[in-house]
Symmetry: C2
Subunit: 520 residues, 2 copies
């Protein structure tokens, strides 16, 4: 278990032994990949709620827990734990006395380290850090020729490769798309194997059944060593709450497995506003806070100190069609407010992403995405799932969108760096040198800094109209497709100890052989 | 001259006489157009600079004014005014003693009313208001068939019509595109006539020559009545500073005309970072502040109390190609910082817009635009020029982009409304009614609010994939083109007193006859 004080030490120790050897070999043998550390936000958070609003919402959330309660369905052990902790249990309804959930949450770390097999890519989740991970969950992909079809394991591997190659993506994520060509009860094995072998960034575990969570931990024991996994967090997994106010046995089974193993969970209401929560921002925030308080408290009942993240995935809804909508003002307001509630609770915060409803990586997709990503950064998100590749309300993973989003993440990192007011950055020498009517391009200050003074996109077009026209007048989607193709062509896997690889493959083969394929 | 205290009274008086008759007739006869009031920001501003950074930049700006000074070129009268005010004048260089410019700025109003001929559309510029105006200046248009060509007066009229029909655009703007088929020395007359007759929203005056500013005021005297114009602000015009630190005679001629007439000017450095200002954010902010201090102080020397706006148009630059770039992190940081400086100076603030470098209304355009518009809102902009229709670094005005941007402005207005925490918005009744595992769509709270609970785009696609596919799988550009076409087809001009219209047309005809066409 890591907390704020020992995380750096643990990370350092990790660099010296265990996976450190693989990392050093990777350095020697593989093509050098540029990698940014997680974003360190040197800027304030945007706080949309004033003190009065925060107090109202916090008071109401406690009222929800106390009077209405939450349901832990088909989970007698959970009910027993809650009864033991002092809650009022009636059937599967758990009513939590005012203040109890919040006090249980106090043992959860404000920041924790998730280790990667390449120690240089381990991430601290919490505080002023923002860790960016790819899209999660789409059953479809839109491929480079523009077709929309069911995702396969081959697609999955491509997205893992792109995330590995993307400088500003710090985390390999989890179900980057659903490999629908693999049996439902076995695909977690292939997905984990892909994250472990095709990337050296941190990744997520399976949550679709408790035994798949167990498999996830076991494969990590092979990759990192069992001793290391016993003492450190190497998985962050996504545990959705069945909003409103319901914790089902499948997701809780995964949470119980991971929390007991000291592995991290994002405890995350999944809300389409107006359907799974009230239509109002304040009402939704109240329910989100109540749900997260109950879920995080439960993780602490399993193991005090288990690392958890305050999640809030909230979209609005088109009341005409019932479709979920993204990049909307309501979603931004909820994100900002939830961030404030998470910080007051002292927990790392997950929200946002490159969310959009558009079917194509077009202007709609980008407006919606940029609205969400800007709110994500200023709202103080610590862990951002879906930060690249999300299309069509999360039904589709898109390579072009991935490349475009990943590029924008670099711009966010640059905003987060804040404003340098060092003497050099004040540039008074330059203003004196150039004077009224002059030109800065040639001055000493510009010459010293021109290479890194401005963020520069690696995919957007900055050419003059005539050049751009002569080259075919391509839009962003076409430019992104070209870049994605080139990245995949040039991909080389990071080095991995051959014995570890074989042990992982053997584990996957054995587990696959143990049960027949299931496709539901 | 308006200041905060008498503006409402003036606006009310305007409703009762003068243009009020025309407004009432418009109400009776014309098709009802939906119109939003300027955005009232019930949210805090995002402040990227801490107190120390602000003090450094403010101190440095005074040093720039005192030691380096600014140039007022080919303008002996301006030099005399500055000498009289206590500045050190040497050639055309004006060195302003520390504190003098800031103290001169104190007479500028923190907020002022710009009147529209329809009193319901008059706008207060300053405070927590955000007034949105269309793109300004593009010599090219991209028309609905996708072609890029020189703009004409017909295009100009179309953009004025779209702005008139766009609910969230509060201002008709100025040079919505350059009508290149009209002589340079006469096009301001046709442009003003279009704003005055095709719309009833407030608009901008000409700045390309002092006599064209005089024409602008004279046409307003016909539209509003000379007595009204003598007492009220009916024009807000864009006076760019020739950065670095240079105030040319053309722009100052326009500023002198308008300030003397009590008409408003945006005093706005126009900066491509690294070319017209240092490559650093802090250095650029220092120069921007020095320039605005000098320009606003000069307007107050012309007429104390003249309404002015603190402008900051700053783009970054691609150091590879020299192209200006938009929606970049540096631009956002400068916008946030400049907003803080403007508020500390007690002036209305202009910045931002739907800025982008893309050649097409594609994903690039939308990422860049949304980055800028989000910073614009949170940065506390009071007057946002270019809020719709800007493409290709401002070289091109696009009808599709206009429609897409104008739609997004509605989302910003909704963010700005903040979070309602009234008892009804807390929705505790709904959470109690629905309970764990329930569904909110049918509950009483949702039924009461579903029509206006969520912002809804009027142009983006929310349809299921199958429906969208069957309808041709159109991207945002195609959907926007269809909407623009429909809007232009359905356009009806607001009513205008026939005698006023004839007097305006006669003025334009007479002024055109007075000089030969000039095309440079």
């Amino acid at each position: 278990m890591n907390d704020m004080s020992d995380a750096p030490m643990v990370a350092e120790r990790r660099g010296r032994r265990g996976g450190g050897g693989a990392a050093r070999r990777a350095e020697r043998t593989a093509r050098k990949i540029e990698n940014a550390r997680p974003i360190l936000r040197r800027i304030p958070e945007f706080e949309i709620l004033n003190a009065e609003a925060l107090e109202i919402i916090e008071r109401n959330a406690e009222t929800v827990l106390e009077e209405i309660g939450v349901a832990f369905t088909e989970n007698p052990a959970a009910l027993a734990r809650w009864r033991e902790a002092g809650a009022d249990v009636d059937g599967d309804r758990v009513r939590i006395p005012r203040g109890l959930a919040r006090s249980l949450c106090a043992t959860a770390p404000a920041i924790f380290t998730q280790h990667a097999r390449n120690a240089e890519k381990s991430v601290d989740i919490g505080g002023k850090n923002t860790v960016l991970a790819p899209v999660y969950g789409p059953p479809f992909v839109r491929d480079l020729d523009g077709g929309r079809r069911y995702a396969t394991m081959e697609d999955f591997r491509n997205f893992v490769k792109l995330a590995y190659l993307s400088k500003n993506i710090h985390h390999s994520g989890g179900t980057v798309c659903e490999p629908t060509d693999i049996a439902v009860n076995k695909r977690h094995l292939d997905m984990l194997l892909a994250h472990m072998t095709l990337s050296d960034k941190p990744f997520m575990g399976s949550v679709t059944a408790p035994e798949r969570a167990v498999d996830s931990v076991k494969m990590c024991e092979i990759l990192f060593g069992a001793d290391f996994v016993a003492e450190n967090t190497v998985l962050t997994s996504l545990v959705n709450i069945n909003s409103p106010l319901t914790f089902d046995a499948t997701m809780m089974g995964a949470l119980e497995t991971y929390a007991a193993a000291g592995q991290a969970c994002i405890v995350s209401p999944f809300i389409v506003g107006g359907a799974m929560a009230p239509v109002s921002v304040a009402g939704t925030l109240t329910q989100v806070l109540a749900e997260v308080l109950a879920g995080v408290a439960y993780a602490q009942l399993i193991r005090p100190g288990a690392p958890v993240i305050f999640g809030a995935f909230v979209t609005s809804i088109d009341m005409n069609s019932g479709a979920p909508t993204f990049g909307t003002p309501e979603a931004s307001k909820i994100l900002y407010g939830a961030g404030q509630l998470a910080r007051r609770l002292g927990l790392p915060f997950r929200s946002g992403g490159a969310l959009c409803g558009s079917k194509l990586p077009d202007a709609q997709a980008a407006y919606e995405t940029a609205n969400t990503l800007n709110a994500m950064l200023l709202g103080g998100v610590n862990f951002c799932l879906h930060s690249a590749g999300w299309l069509e309300g999360g039904l589709v993973a898109s390579l072009e969108k991935f490349v475009l989003d990943a590029d924008q993440l670099g711009a966010l990192a640059s905003v987060a760096a804040g404003v340098d007011v060092s003497e050099d950055a004040q540039a008074m020498d330059a203003i004196r040198e150039v004077g009224p009517g002059g030109h800065y391009l040639g001055c000493a200050h510009t010459q010293r800094h021109f290479k890194d003074a401005f963020w520069r996109s690696e995919v957007l077009d900055y050419k003059p109209f005539e050049t751009w026209s002569e080259e075919g007048g391509r839009d962003s989607q076409a430019l992104a497709a070209e870049r994605a193709r080139r990245m995949l062509d040039e991909y080389e896997a990071p080095a991995l100890d051959q014995a570890v690889r074989e042990a992982l493959e053997a584990f996957v083969a054995r587990r696959k052989a143990e049960e027949p394929d299931a496709f539901a």
